[in-house]
Amino acid sequence: MTDHQYDHSSNRLEGVRAAITGGTSGLGLALVRELTARGARVAFIARTASSIEEVARSNHGTSGIVGDVSKKPEIHPIVLQVLGALGGLDVLINNASSLGPTPLALLGDTECEDFELALTTNVLGPFRLTKALLGALSASAREGTGSVVLNVSSDAAINAYPEWGAYGASKAALHHMTRIWREEVAAEGIRMLSLDPGDMDTPLHAAAVPGADRTSLERPATAARGLADAIESAMPTPSISGGGRRAPAASEVRE
């Protein structure tokens, strides 16, 4: 992924209403900043009220929502506040992720409860949020704004890394679910993306690989730029033609 300054001349995210889960750290925080910089109106969701206030304060115009996407009773209250804050929704980014057991563990040593947390956070949470917001997303699509759901995937969804069992299985499920969503809602005008941002220097990576050489890891801001480019490419072309689509910088997870 090349590090480049964003070219604002073909900005398809200006005024776009975007919701980002896990928006107070790592990639999620970088996405809040990147999308806001591109003119999007952003609502972000996270579990800790104090972190939310801090991020909302330093990213003017964003709305922070307290909620845990892994908990079913919290989904509709989150969705209500997202729609209330933004007046509708064009882009949903399911970024919040759980590693499962930390430190990572062999499947034979993984507690069921830790596996469940990975599944509820990484699969059921995105499923429930997408389902509850499908009406709003399809309304945007009908009105010509276009709508995109980006599910943040991982190469662990494809490759069998020992000790990444709960995470890898949940991300594989998320990735496959995204492919099925894509088939089912294409006719409604909703684009579904499953993208792997690559290894980044984030709290999640630090929890998974405590001894990693951080200098070898990509900065979340760089990955966020690639994902934002990919979302832009998936949005309908503005009426003025010749914007010149850029190839998505983040690599689509391949089967």
Partner: protein, 371 residues
Amino acid sequence: MIAADRPVQRPRNARMLVVDAGGRIRHAFRSRFIDLLRPGDLLVANDAATLPASLHGVHLRSGDSIEVRLAGRPSVALDDVQTFSALVFGTGDFRTRTEDRPLPPSLETGDRVEFGSVGKLTATIEGFFDHPRLVALRFGGSAGDVWSGLARHGRPIQYAHMPAALELGDVWTPIAAMPVAFEAPSATFAVDWRLIGALRARGIGFQTITLAAGLSSTGDSELDKRLPLDEPYRIPENTAHAIRLCRTRGGRVVAAGTTVVRALEHSASVHGHVRAGDGLATQRVGPARQLRIVDAILSGTHEPGVSHFELLRAFADDDTLAAATAELEAFGYRTHEFGDSVFIEQIANRNLTRSDAALETTVPALTSLLM
């Protein structure tokens, strides 16, 4: 009829009584609803999502419990959430029938109400709509504070026929988009993504409007006579365009629910045609009203006398509706928001006078306090 007492939006055995344009009545399964539509028809549904509009709190001056049910709003704009009209009750909750609920504490203009302890939502009584239980309410704080307060402390409005407490997800329709309704636009429960895909495959149009569906019952016979209260709505450009096209080409406009009828007919009565944009439906659709736009309706099963039933009288004459009601009773159809359905085509050659405007009734001044 039998009260539907479980929050299942699309029971597999949901039934649908069909009244066709000739006044003939037959029984069908609601899952076969699409077979009643023809290529070139247009189905219009209400995509309003439902607010958790029931709030339990404390009336500060007396220290007594109060339940506030949000009932009306000036617009469907999602940042316009400070002022509402609201119905107030005393102690208790939905488990007690609304007509048996204790009266609220005696309220005065300027009284304050608090909801919840953590992340408190506060409101001030700003006035009354000619009735001690129908108040103008103003929430404190920003729009964001109101949304988080509603998310935290509000519950869906529900009634005693449903014993279990409803979650917001129970009343969130498949296409719910704009959270503006005070009660679920329940005809939309039947509109799922499979149906929308099937409509497309058969060349039947599908569009939405958004109408802030209000209360279906107040527990007070005087107030019930004023239902439905004024309801703001929004008609998207695409919908207005699709309706024009459908009518030009001889298709039928089919409404999924009374709220769709109300929005489209109000727009047409004001502008002469369905125009894109925001409006406030103040009229009552009933027997005296000639329908200008809607040709058929999918609706719940309604008891004679309630406001939703009155609207059905715009589609069919009283004899036909009496026969349909007898059929619903005889065959044990289920009623209320999670109940069975009726599909009624506008009966041809009804003896209607065109003096509907003169007979139309409105509830005056309900919104003036809110603007």
